[in-house]
């Protein structure tokens, strides 16, 4: 009796299901199904006594994290394999890994350095620009690829069980590998520009580590969004491009704040907020570590001198180094490191939890 009711009548199902979709079935409804695979008693109790769990339920957070750790080789292997496959169709192959950032930098130099002259008030604009672009590109690529990762790997997700967070992690790792290559290019460029090798260069490593952690966290968030809405990967390039323009990649936010004709001159709050946004923070940290002139001309690098500062503010072209005599526009470097660490930790925690909460839903539909 019990089985009969269960097996044959979906009529008590809520929602619009009952209507049109059902009518065809009732006509052909089979008399009495012969189901010999049904033991007597309540099935849910049977499942409970055998310690079975419902499918499509996400694992508890701790075991999820440990499973993820267990798959670390998979994450590494996935990143390397994808990195190699990415350029197999191109005739120049792996050369593109170096060529892409170089061409990028060239295009921006032609437009912003030469045509629009945004180099005003920045010493050694080329190094400044290339550093900014390479650092920002890391975050940009990590965001855009992470938003597509679930769709890209659907056959794998549907076939095998593994913690899905492996996938965005792998994608960020790919971009990290690319970043290391573009930094090799960057070192060559700044050395050609006459930059001395200093111990400050070591600070690049922690800065990029923090940026990677931030990218992983944000990438996890975007991976979940991108999995449920394709619109995300359509919209994201525009958002990221806007983000690039306001993060001081192509021009100096400090110059915009200090110089009398600068757009941010009368908006110190906006200027401050722009300078503590994650992209700007990581870019500034790397520039500070890599570029001597940047360090030297940093506002606040020398004791405040109203006259010298005024010279910079009115004639930034001629007195490019005198910005050092102005009051700092940035929070101090230690504070900036704190911001960098803060963004990384917050993004990683929120991203991990956010991604984990939808774990059972990836690959559905």
């Amino acid at each position: 009796m019990r089985n009969q009711g269960r097996v044959s009548a979906p009529g008590h199902l809520s929602g619009p299901v009952d209507g049109s979709a059902d009518s065809s079935a009732t006509a052909t409804a089979v008399a009495e199904p012969e189901n010999n695979l049904l033991p007597p008693g309540s099935l849910s109790e049977l499942a409970a006594t055998h310690g079975l769990k419902k499918t499509a339920i996400r694992p508890p957070l701790r075991s999820y994290a440990s499973e993820l750790w267990q798959r670390r080789y998979f994450i590494g292997g996935f990143a390397t394999a994808r990195n190699i496959a990415m350029y197999t169709e191109a005739r120049l192959g792996q050369v593109w890994q170096v060529l892409t950032p170089l061409l990028n930098a060239t295009v921006y130099y032609l437009i912003f350095g030469l045509l629009l002259n945004t180099s005003r008030g920045v010493p050694d604009y080329i190094s400044f620009l290339v550093t900014g672009i390479f650092v920002f590109n890391f975050t940009q690529r990590a965001f855009i690829t992470s938003s597509q990762v679930i769709r890209d790997t659907l056959p794998l997700i549907r076939a095998l069980y593994f913690p899905r967070a492996c996938l965005p992690l792998g994608y960020v790792l790919i971009e990290l590998q690319q970043l290391i290559l573009s930094f090799a290019v960057l070192f060559v460029i700044v050395l050609i520009r006459g930059e001395p090798v200093t111990p400050y260069w070591l600070l690049i490593i922690p800065a990029l580590v923090l940026q990677s952690v931030f990218n992983v966290g944000a990438g996890l968030i975007l991976a979940r969004w991108g999995a449920s809405f394709d619109d995300v990967s359509q919209l994201l390039p525009f958002i990221v491009r806007t983000w690039m323009y306001v993060s001081g990649v192509l021009f100096s936010l400090q110059a915009l704040t200090l110089t009398v004709t600068g757009r941010l001159h009368d908006h110190p709050t906006i200027a401050y907020l722009l300078q503590i946004n994650p992209a700007a923070v990581y870019i500034t940290l790397v520039r500070y570590a890599l570029l001597t002139d940047y360090r030297r001309a940093m506002p606040g690098a020398k004791p405040y001198n109203q006259h010298m500062c005024q010279l910079y503010r009115v004639f930034p072209g001629q007195h490019v180094y005198d910005s050092a005599y102005c009051h700092p526009t940035l929070p101090s470097m230690p504070t900036l490191w704190m911001y960098g660490a803060g963004w990384a930790v917050v993004a990683a925690i929120i991203g991990f939890l956010f991604f984990w909460r939808a774990e059972a839903r990836y690959g559905r539909g």
Partner: protein, 257 residues
Amino acid sequence: MVVVDDLHVVYRVYGSNADKGTAATALLRMIRRQRRPSIREVHAIRGMSFVAYRGDAVGVIGRNGSGKSTLLRAIAGLLPAEQGAVYTDGHAALLGVNAALLEDLTGERNVVLGCLAMGMAPQEVKDAKPNIVDFSGVGDFINLPMKAYSTGMGSRLRFAIASAKSHDILLVDEALATGDAEFQRKSHRRIDELREKAGTVFLVAHNLNEIAETCNRVIWLEKGRIVKAGDDVPGILDDYLVASGSEPRFREAAAVD
């Protein structure tokens, strides 16, 4: 072990008909906060209950659209239950008809990544790799991207990868149908081994011989419901043959054996 308790699955299909699909209508819809009009609901599984134990190989038969693949995907946890539930004692591996795992990577890399994804350690993967490649029988193709594979080669390699590790539940959806006779023999042996390791295997196949040879239980579906289910495999297969207008042959064959 798998317990399916009064399972209902409803698909929501987007963009079927009725929607003109222009940007203007989409925008208007968003302003009015309406749902997409083109959503159609398909009630693919309409109340299904059964229990499969460890060591069972369960064949699932039925016509196209009877809900076989849907059932497997629900057991794998890839489709949410509208009502009822599926209980399992572990994770399921689902082998479907799409041929590759990561199609722009070589077969060899797919082997390595698949094994790592299943949680094997790098050394285990190294040890298992020759066996997997050998079992799949793809030969020199192992160094080509999987998108260059024929459907049969792709699904053979997938099966070889997924069956390299013992799973609690292995779901095989027509993945063996594209293999040749020799591969089918090999895969039957592999499924038997998995059963002995106390896993549960589900097999969807239109080739009834495959079911008769491999399975100890069978479920016959029609329009999202169970018609017959039980351990009398030849009997149910024959009833299914009669229902679809063919001559029964499995009972006799079983009697001869």
